[in-house]
């Protein structure tokens, strides 16, 4: 394999694995910027992966090639719906954010596998999806010399979409009134309240957006990587996204960059063999690498990076 092809393989595989993490890390960013800690991203991803898989399997005759893309939206919608639980528990009932998120993480796999067994005659795994997202060569951009080949040939279209979404998220958070207010309720809800900002409303929006993006991330996982739904479809990606969000300092662009890095780590078992110098290493190491890297990154950066000041604090309005 020549250099261009090697780079193309590494980059496209990285992007395929990064896409779910990018969406989910962006989701985490919205939730935590509004002051609600979201360790339930894993659960939201599971719900997104499950619902999108069911939709894909049930409707792929009706929608044809567009099915996986519509399935993404379905996964996002169900993720959003699922996140209502977290929002109600933490914002309206002032539950501990970590506990509520953990409940989501325990409930989602149990519920989704249970439903899978009901829908598919007691099997714990759905049949394989006929239509996945696959790879795309982007017309026009792929004609650019060298870069076109490396970046835009047989690449993951949904990953580029994720990168575009992260730019939009950054713009929303840092350039619009909505973003300023959302961040303000995560920094000092009492101050936001005195300025007439409805703290509860903005926190609900933060959590629901995170559910939408987390569900989308899970759906991407199912539609482009596993191509089915089972208990192992989502195995720690939600927590990796959380780590990416922290590593990225709660900034959409930082989170995206960190997610791409974790994507690279996750794609190691597949691309490791192609990287010169790494061929001889036992593939077991590549398989544990993403989890090890996540832990190392968290240990190194969790203490240092400063999140929103009121992240995890419930707000009680005096009457």
């Amino acid at each position: 394999m020549n250099l261009t092809t090697t780079l193309m393989t590494i980059l496209s595989t990285t992007l395929v694995y990064a896409a779910p993490l990018i969406f989910t890390a962006l989701g985490g960013t919205f939730s935590e910027r509004s002051g609600i800690v979201n360790v339930g991203l894993e659960g939201m991803m599971i719900v997104g992966a499950f619902s999108s898989s069911i939709f894909n399997l049930s409707f792929d005759r009706m929608f044809g090639d567009a099915t996986p893309w519509i399935a993404l939206f379905v996964g996002a919608a169900f993720g959003c719906l699922f996140s209502v639980l977290h929002a109600v528990a933490t914002i309206s009932f002032r539950a501990d954010h970590i506990i509520s998120g953990t409940v989501l993480n325990m409930m989602a796999p149990a519920l989704c596998v249970f439903l899978t067994r009901i829908f598919y005659d007691g099997k714990g795994q759905t049949p394989e999806l006929n239509d996945g997202l696959g790879t795309t060569t982007i017309a026009g951009l792929s004609k650019i010399p060298f870069l076109g080949k490396v970046m835009f040939t047989q690449t993951s279209l949904v990953a580029w979409f994720a990168i575009l979404v992260s730019v939009i998220c950054w713009y929303v958070l840092y350039r619009t009134g909505f973003g300023l207010r959302l961040r303000s309720v995560g920094e000092n809800p009492a101050a936001a309240d005195t300025l007439g900002i409805n703290v509860y409303q903005y926190r609900y929006m933060g959590v629901l957006i995170s559910g939408f993006l987390g569900g989308l991330g899970g759906a991407v996982m199912a539609q482009s990587i596993t191509l089915s739904f089972s208990i192992s479809t989502i195995s720690g990606q939600g927590f990796m996204s959380l780590a990416a969000m922290i590593f990225g300092k709660w900034n959409p662009l930082g989170a995206m960059g960190a997610a791409v890095f974790f994507g690279l780590a996750q794609s190691l078992p597949i691309i490791g063999a192609y990287i010169p110098g790494l061929e001889g290493i036992n593939s077991v190491w590549f398989q544990v690498a993403p989890y090890l890297i996540t832990i190392v990154v968290l240990v190194l950066f969790l203490g240092k990076s400063v999140g929103p000041a009121a992240d995890g604090e419930n707000y009680i309005k005096s009457k």
């Binding site: 350039r175 300023l180 207010r181 303000s184 000092n188 101050a191 936001a192 005096s318």
Partner: protein, 512 residues
């Protein structure tokens, strides 16, 4: 008379069964500076909370520009031109000054984008007009307290407020910043804005206000013209009785040596903070340690109470050695300690009043039986002290953190004095406490002296030291630089000694 912009009629506010405001009426005119005077916990902040839309009235009506209004949230208050500057600033440290000012009222360009340049221009114009010196691009966490307050004022101006409410605006300011604030008050009033400011500092009222509404226990006592009312008269209205400027010292036996500190050296972070210091306190006397903050007073006291390691020298209490002994051993030797910082050292804010009042005896009978806390005793003990020491609270089960500063301090004083110490150490016992509570705490301390206890008092307030002490020692850079008799020393002379200088007529200004 100028037109009335705010009228509050028969306002009552209840929290549960507790009446924080009871039938309060007041009015504010255009261009007027109105002071709201009252002790901590008198209900001033509650009243202003209703005017700024943070709280809802239980009964009564609020009229703005002659029309009755019902405000459900701060946004509606803002629409009526009311701007509130809170005591604890409502700012977001991680945001820039500009973001803090426009938050909630962002100017929008092209449908979604915040127009930062337009906002900056408008803020610049306003800051020139009202001489509000602010740096709009700095992060709030990097600017001084004085500037933070100007940002708060700018927030209100930016929202075109005509009525400004200030909740204890000078509490955290330096004297220079207070001067500047008073100038800003003047500038605002001249532009036809009306100001209400909450305070318990009489000097500021004399300096800035036109009229003054005095509130006590949730009721209006009187509304006076500041120009023709003496400070003392306002103070008496506020606390509801005559205030005394001196304490009554009875003749007691002062022969017994209680605290004997000898050649003490204390180091903190490798620096010598107390240098070869010797000090004696006898029964029945109050020894005042005067000095400017940071001259080793805190370290001296921490060393005596066992909270700081002693490098050399000895501390003897009632002829027994307590050098570098555990805090509990020292406490049990009969030492009461009113620490400088009540919130981090003196109290456990989330615990109840009763629990805080038992922090010194919770491990002994009868508060503790077979290792189990006896809450019946703890709560009854709490009730008794609350009554004896006039601590204003709903009941003994209220968390201490929700009390006002003065009442929190009374909790500490009550606990320490109730433990019947032979030696009472008080460090700035009246810092951040209102006039009525100051007088009360002074009397409690003096009573200890009159009943034959030894008292060591550290204070940065010259008047306090001069009023209470039998003897005064002056500390400067970790050493005692002199001992004086309060009866023939003026606060000016004492001030000069604290600065480490000998008294000379021509250097008096340097000490101020």
């Amino acid at each position: 008379m100028a037109e009335t912009v705010v009228e509050m009629r028969h306002i009552t506010k209840k929290f549960g069964e507790f009446k924080a405001n009871d039938d309060i009426s007041l009015s504010l005119h255009k261009g007027e500076i109105l002071a709201l005077l009252g002790e901590n916990g008198a209900g001033k902040s509650t009243l202003m909370g209703m005017l700024s839309g943070l709280l809802e009235t239980t009964s009564g009506e609020i009229l703005i520009n002659g029309k009755e209004v019902k405000m459900k949230n701060p946004r509606e208050a803002k629409d009526y031109g009311i701007g509130m500057v809170h005591q604890h600033f409502m700012l977001i440290p991680a945001f820039t000054v500009l973001e803090n000012i426009i938050l909630g009222d962002e100017p929008i360009k092209k449908g979604v984008r915040i127009d930062y340049t337009g906002a900056a221009k408008r803020i610049k114009e306003l800051s020139e007009r009202y001489q509000l010196d602010i740096d709009i691009h700095a992060k709030v966490r990097d600017i001084s307290v004085g500037m933070q307050q100007r940002v708060e004022i700018m927030k209100a101006l930016y929202r075109e407020a005509n009525i400004f409410i200030f909740d204890e605006p000078t509490a955290a300011l330096t004297p220079q910043e207070i001067k500047q604030l008073m100038k800003i008050f003047g500038a605002l009033a001249k532009e036809g804005k009306s100001i209400i400011f909450i305070t318990h500092k009489l000097k500021e009222i004399k300096q800035a206000a036109d009229r003054c509404v005095v509130i006590r226990s949730g009721k209006v006592i009187d509304t006076v013209n500041v120009a023709d009312t003496r400070e003392e008269a306002m103070a008496e209205m506020m606390v509801g009785r005559k205030l005394r400027n001196s304490v009554e010292k009875q003749a007691v036996d002062q022969s017994k040596l209680v605290l004997d500190v000898s050649h003490l050296n204390v180091e903190k972070k490798g620096q010598a903070r107390v240098k070869n210091l010797s000090l004696q306190v006898h029964s029945g006397e109050i020894v005042g340690i005067a000095g400017i903050d940071g001259n080793g007073q805190s370290e001296l006291i921490e060393a005596i109470t066992g909270m700081q390691k002693i490098k050399s020298g000895t501390v003897q209490i009632k002829d027994k050695d307590y050098t570098n002994k555990a805090v509990r051993k020292i406490t049990e030797a009969g030492v009461g300690y009113i620490p400088e910082d009540r919130q981090t050292v003196g109290l456990q804010l989330p615990l109840t009043l009763a629990e805080n009042l038992s922090l010194k005896n919770y491990y002994q009978q009868p508060a503790n039986k077979y290792g189990v806390l006896n809450y019946q005793y703890i709560n009854e003990h709490g009730q008794k002290l609350i009554k004896d020491y006039d601590i204003r609270s709903r009941n003994e089960l209220e968390p201490v953190g929700s009390l006002s500063g003065g009442n929190q301090q009374k909790v500490v004083v009550a606990r320490e004095i109730a433990s019947d110490p032979d030696l009472l150490i008080a460090a700035n016992p009246t810092r951040g406490v209102d006039v009525g509570a100051i007088e009360y705490i002074h009397e409690m301390i003096n009573n200890e002296r009159n009943s034959g206890k030894a008292v060591l008092l550290v204070s940065f307030e010259l008047d306090e030291i001069l009023k209470l002490s039998d003897r005064i020692v002056v500390m400067h850079e970790g050493e005692i630089v002199g001992e004086i008799d309060p009866k023939d020393t003026s606060s000016q002379e004492l001030g000069l000694m604290m600065a480490g200088k000998k008294v000379q007529p021509n250097v008096q200004e340097a000490a101020q």
